[in-house]
Amino acid sequence: MVYAFDYDWIAQYWPVLLKGTAITVELTLVGGVLGVALGVACAWARAYGPTWLQGIVAAYVELIRNTPFLIQLFFIFFGLPALGVRMGELEAANLAMVVNLGAYSCEIVRAGLQATPRGQFEAGASLGMSRLQTFWYVVLIPSLQRIWPALSSQIVIVMLGSAAVSQIAAEDLTFAANFIQSRSFRAFESYFVATLIYLLLAILLRQLLRGIGWTLFPKRAAL
């Protein structure tokens, strides 16, 4: 018997897919922005912070980078309520993504900070800039530019990893695919369509990040 593919159901279920896609996009945007911000803060703490803070950040980074995202998600959603921290599935999903991307981007940003020559600080200070100004304009922005490609691919990886949040019933694109296959019994087709949407999202996100790179760092293209 040859299996007959059937995609007629898409007409019926496209609002479900659209809603799932919107949630995946929302998770990626929030996770991406806050995750990178957390990563920059952690990179600063690891490079220039007090020693005790460096230790904490190092432990956080190692812990997150060496455990699966799915387990981090389960720990936050199922484990933390034991400590009295309760949250909805979307908050838990967002939190897990921020915490996850924070650890990875910390390492990426730190690599960029380390590549800044020592003299840059002195140059900044000699121009009368405050420590914060020097860090922001002289150290951080050129570092971010240097590591932007690595950071971009990490953000795409986190977006793809967000498929796992369907496991705590956050209604993302994968959840939509699960829902559709349970209704239509067209498992292969619904996951296939969802996969194509993910592929499209990944391509668009990569272009978007490249565009952001160009706007954020316009003048230093030759660096």
Binding site: Y3, N66, F69, A82, A177, T195, Y198
Partner: protein, 219 residues
């Protein structure tokens, strides 16, 4: 209701961790073999081969591993065979690892300076000889740290196979949680076991990188 001691929990998790290790090894080695073949197509002279591998890599790096697992699970089912979860899990992880390893290794081969190719070809070496005696020995050295680093991704990737029903460490964590109602302890322990598997790999990748100091050797 039964009472579970912490030892009961740990013992069951450790038993399940065996399957995480087996699946990681199979996926990593299988992925390595497939990646080796893809690498030769990618850097070879055939245009069709290059485009095929580029498309393959784009497809597997641009879609979630979870979706690949679902498609393998339900896709194999379309052939009318009853697919066990381990088969779908192994297949999807092998193909997924192969995409990443191909890209990593391609970077390593391409980082060998052009002059090495020219020098060896001026010695009258053919393509296979160049590869075997000049390019690969150098590229392999560069490839070791990122390859070991990627093995961490493979171990973490196996956690997703719990979703299609393969009973490994993550699935065991869920099962044990459902029996003990202690999610905090159980998922904490699961995370700890993953950490014990992954951290030595991450660390050795870092150490190898420093030891081989490959980034600055040719400049």
């Amino acid at each position: 209701m039964n009472d579970f001691t912490t030892w009961d929990i740990v013992r069951n998790l450790l038993l399940a961790a065996r399957w995480t290790i087996v699946l990681s090894l199979v996926s990593f080695m299988g992925g390595g073999i497939v990646a080796g073949i893809l690498l030769f197509l990618r850097i070879g002279s055939s245009r069709a081969g290059r485009i095929f591998v580029q498309g393959y890599v784009e497809l597997f790096q641009g879609t979630p591993l979870l979706m690949q697992l679902f498609l393998a699970f339900f896709g194999l089912g379309l052939f009318g065979v009853n697919v066990p979860a381990w088969l779908a899990a192994g297949l999807a992880l092998i193909l997924w690892s192969a995409a990443f390893l191909t890209e990593i290794w391609r970077g390593c081969v391409e980082s060998i300076v052009r002059g090495q190719w020219e020098a060896s070809s001026s010695l009258g070496m053919g393509y296979v000889q160049q590869m075997r005696h000049v390019i690969l020995p150098q590229a392999l050295r560069i490839a070791v740290p990122p390859t070991v680093g990627f093995s961490v991704q493979v171990v973490k990737g196996t956690a997703l196979t719990s979703i299609i029903g393969f009973v490994e460490l993550s699935k065991a964590g869920t099962i044990v949680t459902n029996a003990t109602f202690q999610p905090f302890t159980v998922y904490g322990l699961v995370a700890l076991i993953y950490f014990c598997l992954c951290w030595p790999l991450s660390k050795s990748s870092q150490i190898l990188e420093r030891k081989l100091n490959v980034a600055h050797r040719n400049h």
